[in-house]
Amino acid sequence: MMGKIILDKMAMQRALTRITYEIVEKNKGVEDLVLIGIKTRGIFLANRIADRLQQLENVTIPVGELDITNYRDDIEHDSMSIDVKMSNNKIDFSIEGKRVILVDDVLYTGRTVRAALSAVMDLGRPKSINLAVLVDRGHRELPIRADFVGKNIPSSQKEKIKVYVSEIDDKDAVELIK
């Protein structure tokens, strides 16, 4: 198992900074903007983008946490039990009419994002949903694309992409593991 660093700490910071500017550019400002991070690492990345928006525009953008475990199409579950579905989410604001930016670390098959879209739509009717990812590694199985991408990493399906964030890992990095 050989790990090759594709993005180091500086490159990761730069990517998040650029994504932040692009979010403001594309949304013509930060009005009605909310960030929703997808489970573990997407949440930290969403918080970092929120910190940057705070620095840049002096506004506090709400950040929600989404656990899509129960929406995944590769896990059997009772799809009627809505309470269970919501149990691990921390979204204490209304998304009705908001511009939602979904944030995740890696975009791969698109199934996680598909699940996240279902979960968000269950919470209300946002004005729009955009997707920001740190890494897009290709191999989509669904018609899903990211609006904001830190780095395109064309990869083989045999390879693994590992994202480290200093909040819970010992470093900031993106590694390609062969």
């Binding site: 500017y21 400002g29 620095q55 840049l56």
Partner: protein, 363 residues
């Protein structure tokens, strides 16, 4: 050693010993406090019509390096140093500072208290100066009567387009008197560069089908350039990713209705911390600036302030809110000075890459 004088517009005269050319020259006096990199400083076209005072005490002690020139034909008007060393340490021990200055008809004076001059500039503001053989009334009359050109960019920028071919992104560099460091950083990233004259129209630039456009550094006041340059910038900034540096940054600000004013004392050094606002990170960079964007004049509906100088509060970076167009006052290529911010060129590359992915033109 021949005795010569640096005379200042305020009537003061500094005797010293000559090196380099024995020409008599007049220019604006600026002090540079960078510790190293006299070669890059002297050959930077930003010093067109300026006499450079080095506060670093010993200059010339590392010779000149074939790969470190910032222009082919330097146009500074003089070099004032405390202690001068005539060493040549390049591969063939050929070029010393003395020889280089003689080649380019730039006079030098050493044995001058350059830090005292720096204090004088701080106290009285920017002023003109001459390097002369005799510090008499006639020399001062000549100094007071001299009017320096306001067409500095036209004097140092290329009059015709030229290519710097490679196989990567297609970048057009608009030359306002660029320093080679900009081309070096683009070459390191395999950019296929075309350098075009400062007075190119937006049509000429966009006809080259650029992936990105760079507005270069250069000498003098941005207000000396005609309105047509600002029109060109407003027309290209929405069409391709734009990265503007130094004079280019000042012009980018003017094109977006901000105001630029002359600093009371020009700032040349690598000693001011710069804060990147979005990350709250602090870094250092080479700075050579005579002008600064007025922060109060910035329309926040149009531009973000991205970087500020923590010593004097000047705007050090801007970014357009609607387009991937950004600018910095300082020199991200270092040369000389820290390379802390050289990754701005990587930002530029990534913005171009994203643009291409979105347009799907190469994938």
């Amino acid at each position: 050693m021949t005795q010569r004088y640096l005379i200042l517009a305020d009537g003061s005269a500094y005797p010293g010993k000559a090196f380099g050319s024995l020409a008599t020259t007049t220019g604006e006096l600026v002090a540079n406090s960078t510790m190293n990199g006299y070669q890059e400083i002297i050959s930077n076209q930003i010093y067109h019509n300026q006499i450079i005072v080095f506060t670093q005490s010993s200059i010339g002690n590392t010779g000149l390096d074939q790969n470190a020139y910032e222009s082919v034909l330097p146009s500074a008007k003089g070099v004032i140093v405390r202690e001068y060393e005539n060493l040549a340490t390049d591969h063939f021990k050929r070029i010393s500072l003395d020889r280089y200055l003689k080649q380019h008809r730039i006079p030098g004076i050493y044995d001058v208290d350059t830090r005292e001059i720096r204090h004088r500039l701080q106290k009285y503001g920017n002023m003109m100066a001459s390097i002369v053989d005799v510090a008499d009334d006639h020399a001062f009359d000549q100094l007071h009567a001299t009017v320096l050109t306001n067409q500095q960019v036209a004097q140092v920028a290329t009059p015709k387009p030229y290519p710097n071919p490679d196989e990567g992104d297609n970048v057009v560099v608009v030359d306002f008197g660029l320093k080679s460091g900009i081309l070096r950083e683009l070459s390191r990233r395999n950019c296929n560069v075309t350098v075009v004259p400062w007075n190119s129209t937006s049509e000429m630039i966009l006809d080259l089908d650029p992936d990105g456009i760079v507005l270069s550094t250069g000498p003098g006041a941005p207000s000396n350039l005609p309105e047509s340059v600002l029109k060109m910038i407003t027309e290209i900034q929405s069409q391709a990713p734009l990265f503007a540096i130094g004079l280019g940054h000042e012009l980018f600000a003017l094109a977006n209705q901000a105001k630029v004013s002359k600093l009371r004392v020009e700032h040349h050094g690598a000693n001011h911390p710069i804060r990147e606002i979005i990350t709250n990170e602090i870094f250092f960079s080479g700075q050579e600036q005579g002008y600064a964007v007025d922060p109060k004049s910035i329309d926040h509906a149009k531009l973000f302030i991205t970087h500020v100088d923590l010593v004097n509060g000047t705007v050090q970076g801007l970014r357009h809110r609607d387009f991937p167009a950004f600018s910095v006052q300082f020199s991200p290529d270092g040369a000389p000075g820290p390379k802390d911010s050289v990754d701005l060129f990587d930002d530029f590359m990534e913005i171009m890459e994203r643009r291409r992915d979105e347009n799907g033109s190469r994938y």
